[in-house]
């Protein structure tokens, strides 16, 4: 038997190919040579001297692209590193991530962009694109050198984690980002309304005695930025949309022709604030998990195009950070490794969206939001691919986690559909470790 795993040239034969540009899943075979796709044929079997991966049970899709990841390096390597974060990405089926700028030092200077890029090249298990900070130190006061940042390689600008409270600063940032053709990703949160909040404001916050942040805190911030995007004509992307009102504002702005896109996280699409009755600090995220009606509205927005794509907001925090009183815990949960399984289980299996639709929301849509390459299965394109078993029933356990942090409320959850691994420029990285990997026939 020829082992295709370490080969630079092989065929993936008989897979259901989820090409975002086609109408439906089609059985086909893909030839990978020297990191690129060299042939796509719509037939089950191929006659070849090259090694063949029999992929009949699997779905083959373009590698997922996450445009909202916190890799924590430099500065918070105890939570995550570029190495562990991209290993988590690969395990979740991602071949590219966009890392956010809230590191220490903040990514507000070309030297930090170069550091991250360099570390990604030497230690990364996926492609890493960098979002530069919108303002110096992410303090919302002084606009950064977008020209220099762009030359260093940033693909977007964001003070993610903080809202730019000063509207004049945000206007300037949008105007200037427009000049350099960089999209601006906004974390929308009215800091005064959300001050000291622990969760969504509603019946559950009242019941649990935790300070709530009202949906209006997000919606006010979204509304202002939409107006500034209209005023400046800049490319605005709204991060982690979580409320019905925000979805509605974005939908209406798009109708008016505002240049805006938006993302939703897997957790805001599937989990609601009632879960917080456990006081599990892994459920503390920002924006908070919202009410059931918000979850439904965010889903509806994803289906009708008000929201363009899925993004994880993978936010690692280690156990020491999270094993504290709820008030003391930092916000955030990891998400790269569970994004596909969670959404496949909750949305595809239930018929809310079809598998190809989900693949589009995780590949070509996020790529086009930030103008990134990838997200397609194309002859001569890079062989960045994900292999999925859509039928595998599995339970997500702590030992599966590749991220350096384990802050997820999904440990112990059962999923249908599992990423088997990715090909990054044709190089196989298995998502499954240990004895379970035996199931992966070669």
């Amino acid at each position: 038997m020829i082992d295709w795993k370490d080969k630079r040239e092989f065929w993936i034969a008989g897979a259901k190919i989820a090409d975002p540009e086609s109408e439906r899943l089609r059985v086909g075979s893909v030839c990978v040579q020297k990191g690129r796709i060299t042939a796509v044929v719509w037939q089950k079997a191929v006659e070849t001297d090259l090694p063949v991966l029999d992929a009949e049970r699997y779905v083959l899709a373009p590698g997922f692209i996450d445009i909202h990841t916190h890799l924590r390096e430099p500065g918070f390597e105890e939570k995550e590193t570029i190495e562990t974060g991209t290993a988590a990405a690969a395990a979740g089926g991602y071949t590219a991530v966009v890392c956010m700028a809230n590191t220490n030092p903040v990514i507000d200077d070309p030297s930090v962009v170069e550091y991250v890029t360099c570390r990604a090249q030497t230690t990364g298990c996926s492609r890493v694109y960098v979002a530069g900070a919108l303002t110096k130190g992410r303090l919302g006061e002084i606009v950064n050198e977008y020209y220099h940042l762009k030359r260093a390689g940033v693909v977007a600008l964001s003070d993610d984690g903080s809202y730019v409270t000063n509207s004049q600063v945000m206007r300037t940032a949008l105007e200037y980002a427009g000049l350099h053709k960089l999209p601006v990703i906004s974390h929308c949160e009215d800091v005064f309304l959300a001050q000291a909040s622990q969760m969504n404001e509603g019946y559950t916050s009242t019941r649990l005695g935790l300070k709530g942040s009202p949906a209006a805190a997000e919606e006010i911030a979204v509304a202002r930025d939409l107006m500034l995007a209209q005023l400046t004509g800049a490319r605005l992307h709204i991060a982690h949309v979580s409320t019905a009102g925000a979805v509605d504002l974005i939908r209406r702005a798009k109708k008016k022709g505002v240049s805006v896109t938006a993302e939703a996280t897997p957790h805001h699409l599937t989990l609601d604030d009632r879960l917080l009755e456990s006081y599990d600090t892994n459920l503390k995220v920002n924006p908070p998990l919202r009410g059931v009606k918000d979850v439904e509205a965010v889903r509806a927005g994803l289906l009708d195009g008000a929201i363009d794509c899925v993004a994880t907001d993978h936010a690692p925090h280690n156990e020491i950070d999270k094993d504290v009183e709820f008030d003391e815990a930092p916000a955030g949960m990891i998400g790269l490794e569970t994004a596909f399984a969670l959404l496949h289980t909750r949305l595809v299996v239930n018929g809310v969206v079809d598998l190809l639709g989900l693949v589009r929301l995780m590949t070509v849509h996020p790529a086009s939001v930030l103008g990134l390459p990838g997200g397609r299965i194309r002859n001569e394109g890079p062989a960045d691919l994900v292999l999925i078993d859509p039928a595998e029933e599995w339970t997500f356990e702590k030992r599966h986690i590749r991220s350096r942090s384990r802050n997820t409320p999904l440990i112990g959850s059962s999923f249908t559909g599992r990423v088997q691994g990715v090909f990054l420029e044709g190089k196989w990285q298995s998502a499954i470790i240990g004895e379970e990997a035996q199931g992966m026939k070669t």
């Binding site: 019946y203 504290v324 009183e325």
Partner: protein
């Protein structure tokens, strides 16, 4: 008169003859939301019995002899801490107390490490007051010892809710069908939440009244069957059998949730004139410490309807009952002393 016997340990309980037919099988008391009406009745009945002990010349029974209880107070408290300590001593438990205002994190040792230390020291029960809602759940998740909530953030203060109900029961008879009005800063009040859960479970109708800026989201849904929200204080107490007045904390004014103490007193302060709107038999309660001249006038605080010191007395009995029941104690009804 019923006599107390030492705790028998979980599972070795003699099923009660007479009054105490509902066993109390909980390891922790984290809040009143999780209790059933029967369990609340068991606690209140037990507390009624324990009240007599505090009237004796020698105020001590051996019910918790050999048990170690740690009192951890991470928030300033005089009344609740002393009440628990007295309850523990009157049950012959060995106690240690620890008070440190502020979060445990800020003090250099995490609550998780505190938990590990308690475990290592083989403490049987932990009574905790903590500024973070849910801190007791955190403790109970990691600890073998029983955890008793002496107030967590803005979540619950179950023994306060119980002592309020005990006091109401003594004055009003059964709680079922009675009307109780809670006045003040409901949003930030753990006392309000425990009262709402406890009272509604016992069949009382609860009305909440206070500035709309201090009314939490969807408060009307809280409790068994919900509560009534009424912003006019006279309308709120028109049918009240009991009024429970919440303490207004000065820091809330700093947060500008109401414009001034003067204005608060004018609109929501309970004065003799306001009380004229309530039925003649209506009692006035306050969990303390009182801000005289802010949420309650001097005349009402010291007046004939106030049962505020009875609440304090009942607090010791209720805490004795809770400690006793959580430790696995039960009564052998009818056994002579």
């Amino acid at each position: 008169m019923l006599a107390t016997r030492g705790p028998r340990g979980r599972g070795a309980r003699v099923s009660g003859r007479g009054k105490f037919t509902v066993p109390f099988n909980r390891k922790h008391l984290l809040g009143l939301e999780e209790l059933t009406a029967d369990e609340i009745t068991t606690i209140l009945d037990t507390a009624d019995t324990f009240k007599e002990i505090s009237e004796r010349p020698i105020k001590k029974v051996p019910a918790l002899r050999g048990k170690t209880i740690a009192n951890l107070f991470y928030e300033p408290s005089t009344r609740t801490r002393i009440s628990f300590e007295l309850a523990e001593k009157r049950l012959s438990a060995d106690t240690v107390s620890f008070s440190k205002a502020g979060s445990s994190v800020a003090k250099g040792e995490s609550l998780r490490d505190t938990v590990e230390n308690i475990r290592a020291m083989k403490v049987d029960m932990v009574v905790m007051r903590h500024g973070s809602s849910g801190a007791h759940r955190f403790l109970a998740n990691f600890l073998d010892a029983s955890v008793i909530n002496a107030g967590d953030g803005q979540h619950e203060h179950p023994t306060q809710g119980l002592l309020d109900m005990m006091t109401m029961r003594q004055h009003l008879g059964s709680l079922a069908g009675k009307h109780v009005t809670i006045i003040g800063d409901v949003m930030h009040s753990r006392v309000a939440r425990s009262n709402i859960w406890g009272l509604t479970k016992m069949g009382a109708a609860v009305t909440v009244c206070g500035p709309s800026t201090m009314m939490p989201a969807e408060i009307g849904r809280l409790g068994e069957g919900g509560v009534t929200v009424e912003y006019d204080i006279r309308a709120a107490i028109a049918a009240a059998d009991a009024i429970n007045i919440l303490r207004i904390q000065l820091e809330r004014q700093k947060a500008r949730l109401f414009p001034s103490m003067r204005e608060y007193f004018e609109v929501f302060g309970v004065t003799p004139e306001v009380l004229e709107a309530a039925p003649k038999h209506c009692i006035v309660m306050h969990p303390g410490p009182m801000n005289r001249g802010v949420e309650i006038s001097q005349e009402v605080a010291d007046g004939g309807r106030a049962v505020i010191l009875e609440q304090v007395t009942n607090g010791v009995a209720v805490r004795m009952a809770v400690l006793f029941l959580v430790a696995g104690g039960s009564f052998d009804a009818g056994t002579p002393e």
